[in-house]
Symmetry: C2
Subunit: 220 residues, 2 copies
Amino acid sequence: MAVERRVASQDRGRETQQRILDGAARVFASAGYGSASLRSISEASGVSLGAINFHFRSKEQIARAVIEEQHARTEGLARDIVAAHSTTFARLIHLSFAASVQMHADPVVQAGVELTLQVGDFLDPSARSADGWDRTVADQIALGLERGELESDLGAAALAETFLACFTGAQIRSRVRDGRRELLPAVRDLWLLILPGVVAPAHRAAARRTVDEALAAHAA
Amino acid sequence: MAVERRVASQDRGRETQQRILDGAARVFASAGYGSASLRSISEASGVSLGAINFHFRSKEQIARAVIEEQHARTEGLARDIVAAHSTTFARLIHLSFAASVQMHADPVVQAGVELTLQVGDFLDPSARSADGWDRTVADQIALGLERGELESDLGAAALAETFLACFTGAQIRSRVRDGRRELLPAVRDLWLLILPGVVAPAHRAAARRTVDEALAAHAA
């Protein structure tokens, strides 16, 4: 009985933490980190200030927890997609569309990404860990170059960083331009631009088809 | 005499406004728009709160003025570079390095770009005007496609938007990663990635050389 009570209480604790993170994510996404207050997080999550203080020491700690939760969700998505496709270019293409859909649909992922971009304001960048998306992209690019599916004037690390930069920019301009409504076509355009610089000639036609398939699949 | 006095007073007014914008830019860049206060802008600019209220109605109006000033500075730079190079790819390459240097060195340009990215928070995006950099890139890309110096699977407008997205992403990841210390090599890497997808085959070797020249010239 004591064990059951403890488990039930742990479950409730986790559920409350989850509600705080969801509420905080919506506040961070709409107000930005600087303007977010514990009071507005309490209102958005429906959790009392006292309960928030019980679970988290500070706004910064909540922001760190949002970023961690975003990493976990992105990592789960990345794992599924790598398992579902065999070529590295198909993995990268599907990953970029799926991550865009996730970012548009999930406030925690959105807030985690935005917070990481504002990271200099409140978090030591050197302590920052690459999230599942960054790491999966780097791994698949290294593997693709090794297998000869990818080809580039850049080394694996520089190519991964540059690819991630392009993708980050597409996300951000899409948010500023139209609240991400046209993000999936923007990701397709990005692929058309970079394809000749990253996919080996023998795989380019297949990669082009995969871009169209992925757009259709993830837009559905 | 009355005219001279008026001119001198106008000059003083412009100088004060300029000091307010410079101070505000540093505050916006370090604290973000949400956390910036008129008091901190007064401290950073060395201009009294009363004088700030005389020149600007609100923090939002100051932010708009910073963005306008950024546009003017970027536009001046873009004009000079278009005049100095004859091919569209050389103009785009030199522009992207020069804009990176300007962003690193000029707090007003930095703050204007950051504020535009946070634009949804305080400024109607539909009212947003493209700055000199956006417009020059779009013009040069359209001209380059027309002349056959550039070649792409995308139309002119989509290519310009996608190019700008990649460049925005390189800026942002570089700021988060190392405070823009390695921005110029990142711009070089970006060019190596996108070159085969945007420069026509006949011009690729010349464009590659131009990337190296531009890196050396703007790093100096």
